[in-house]
């Protein structure tokens, strides 16, 4: 795709523009708060305080962050290959099957550090499987990946509803959830990590899958920028025609990229199932797969951007819960608005402020302006 804009220095491209987009999204959210009849500043205070005010709050914030790192990375990997994977929600949901199977089979016999790796493999396997089908359909049958992944979200919801009803629910139980896991299916909290900073994690479910998320972020960086597969994926993403000409096997790369993406989304299931609830509940994903889209867009599909973006949304989720305690008229649905606005301004309207910013910056420094004139055109 042609870029009809002059090149900007790195700090503006990766720092200023995302920040401006984010600021606009928050300004409009503030307007909504005003319409509802509350003070945006007070809401902002409750949000920040609710997210970082206490060790326990930070623990919750980081718990949500963990989830969003996984789903954000999932969307980002597919983006690099030029694929828009809206199916993170369904892939994470199906990934739960892998976690539950591992936990139900081994939680009474094995310690958590042996169950955890099995659960990771299971989650990634089922998530990857659920993403592989749309990937294969796109690669071999030419069906549009966006539509198929949307459809697969709904199919996953129905399938999991069925499985929880007929298979996973213990006999005689009314609520749609599995039995609670024994010690082997419970991940340890990261209280030691928090206590290094003199904070207490309290009841927050901040657990070891956070470290796995960071590891996954590093893994994605290595994959995308340091391996041949990653190079081929990026080539596909930039120009499918060039990739074909270079002899890259298009179908194979699409399927692999989708499987990695789905695997990452599936691993998200570890955090709520083994880290918080110790059982699988109906609809445990709770929109995290869609938050991944916002996170990936804001983080510009780079792990170094995704982690802070995930932290921001972790803050919104935890802080948003606190706001709804303090200001009853602002329920947690406020986060959904903010999420939508971030997707709108950091995604669809990402170039809206670019001409103005370019003019200001390039107007300020003549050197870059000359460079832009020669490079741009």
């Amino acid at each position: 795709m042609s870029v009809p804009y002059a090149k900007l220095p790195g700090w503006a491209e990766y720092g200023l523009i995302p920040l401006v987009n984010l600021a606009v999204a928050f300004l409009i959210s503030g307007l909504v708060v005003l319409i509802v009849g509350e003070s945006p500043l007070e809401a902002a205070y409750h949000m920040v305080n609710g997210a970082f005010g206490r060790g326990e709050y930070i623990g919750f914030t980081l718990y949500y962050t963990t989830t969003f790192i996984f789903t954000g990375l999932a969307v980002a990997v597919a983006f690099h290959c030029g694929l828009f994977n809206i199916g993170g929600e369904g892939q994470a949901y199906i990934g739960g099957i892998g976690v539950v199977l591992a936990c139900l089979a081994f939680d009474r016999t094995l310690p958590w550090y042996l169950v955890f790796p099995i659960a990771i493999v299971g989650a990634a396997f089922f998530g990857a499987l659920w993403a592989m089908i749309p990937g294969w359909l796109q690669a071999k049958r030419g069906s549009h990946i966006v539509i198929t992944t949307i459809m697969f979200n709904f199919i996953a919801a129905s399938l999991m509803n069925y499985l929880l009803n007929r298979v996973f629910k213990p006999m005689g139980s009314m609520s749609l959830e599995t039995r609670t896991f024994d010690a082997g299916g419970q991940l340890p909290k990261l209280d030691w990590l928090m206590s290094i900073f003199g904070l207490s994690v309290g009841s927050a479910p901040f657990n070891i899958s956070f470290l796995l998320a960071l590891l996954a972020a590093f893994g994605v960086w290595v994959l995308i920028w340091r391996t041949r597969l990653g190079y081929e994926m990026r080539t596909m993403g930039h120009s499918p025609a060039a990739a074909r000409y270079a002899g890259i096997k298009e179908a194979k790369i699409i399927v692999i990229a989708m499987m990695i993406s789905g695997g990452l989304a599936g691993m998200m299931a570890l955090n709520p199932i083994m880290g918080e609830q110790f059982r699988m509940q109906l609809d445990f994903v709770q929109g995290a797969g869609f938050v991944g889209i916002a996170v990936a867009l804001m983080g510009r599909s780079h792990p170094a951007g995704i982690i802070p973006a995930a932290l921001l949304f972790g803050m919104l989720y935890q802080g948003g819960a606190e706001i709804s305690f303090e200001m009853p008229s602002i329920s947690r649905d406020m986060i959904v608005i903010i999420q939508g606005l971030v997707i709108l301004f950091a995604g669809a309207l990402e170039h809206m402020f670019r001409p103005a910013i370019t003019r200001v910056i390039l107007g300020l420094s003549p050197k870059t302006r000359d460079a832009a004139v020669t490079k741009g055109a």
């Binding site: 539509i147 697969f152 602002i330 997707i343 669809a348």
Partner: protein, 323 residues
Amino acid sequence: MDVFQVFIELAQSTVRLSTPLILAALAGLFTERAGIFDIGLEGKMLGAAFAAGCVAYISQSVYMGLLAAVLVSVLLSLVHGYASITQRGSQIVSGVAINFVVAGSTVILGEAWFRQGGRTPALSADGRFGTVTLPFADAVRDVPILGPLYSGLLSGHSPLTYLAFLMVPASWWILYRTRFGLRLRAVGENPGAVDTAGISVIWLRYRAVICCGILCGVAGAYLSLAAGAGFTKGMTAGKGYIALAALIFAKWRPKNILFACLLFGFLDAFAIRYQGYAFPLIGKVPVQLMQALPYILTVILLAGFIGKAIPPKAGGVPYVKER
């Protein structure tokens, strides 16, 4: 129970459940035929349903409610249009964004204005669309076969339902028999050619997006003013996506849209009626399978196993006038 009676009842609820799908799928037809993917149908419908619920309650007028629904939906469409036509942003990202913004703000605003947990107050008869009784419906009720067909199936729907079914041939006529329709379809296949002919691609696409907004607005108004009595949180419940599925299933053609929507509406009606019913030979069909069937069918169709769905050629690609 009498088989014929069951058939009439199933057919009638099929018609009721298909109405919003038909309107929304036709809405999608206009934008997608003009080369703009729209996965924001769900959000526009939801926003329209909310606006209709609010305004119809406050003004006690069903027509003001309908008007508000159309206005809000067109406004949301214009946001989508601005992002994807003027700013040349990703159409899919923009659609996703609209769905979220609407899903959140309908609840927040509804709660702030009415304090009923995100719903709007129940509407009285004045604020709702009543049902239309076709002439002689009562008189012919006792005529065998034809009587129930006429008075049970054809008569007794809301005016918006008749409008939805009329919109199918109307959309066909607009798209295939008017100059505007020809140009609209051309802009979805080859915008460069349309531009060369001296017709503004941008303005055409904006008009397509506005058409989509109007139809989505009616679809939303149907949900809160005709099917229900007021707005409830998340009341579209995935209908926008089902409509999108129907649009693809129909291979972007008006006549097929009617059948696809009726099929999906029928599946829904069937699932509601036969929940937990044991069929001969197959036994109990899980209700979840019935719910997932429209999506599964669409995936199979998209994969080209039942015919081939070929989308408009320039769909999803922003138009750049000069390179």
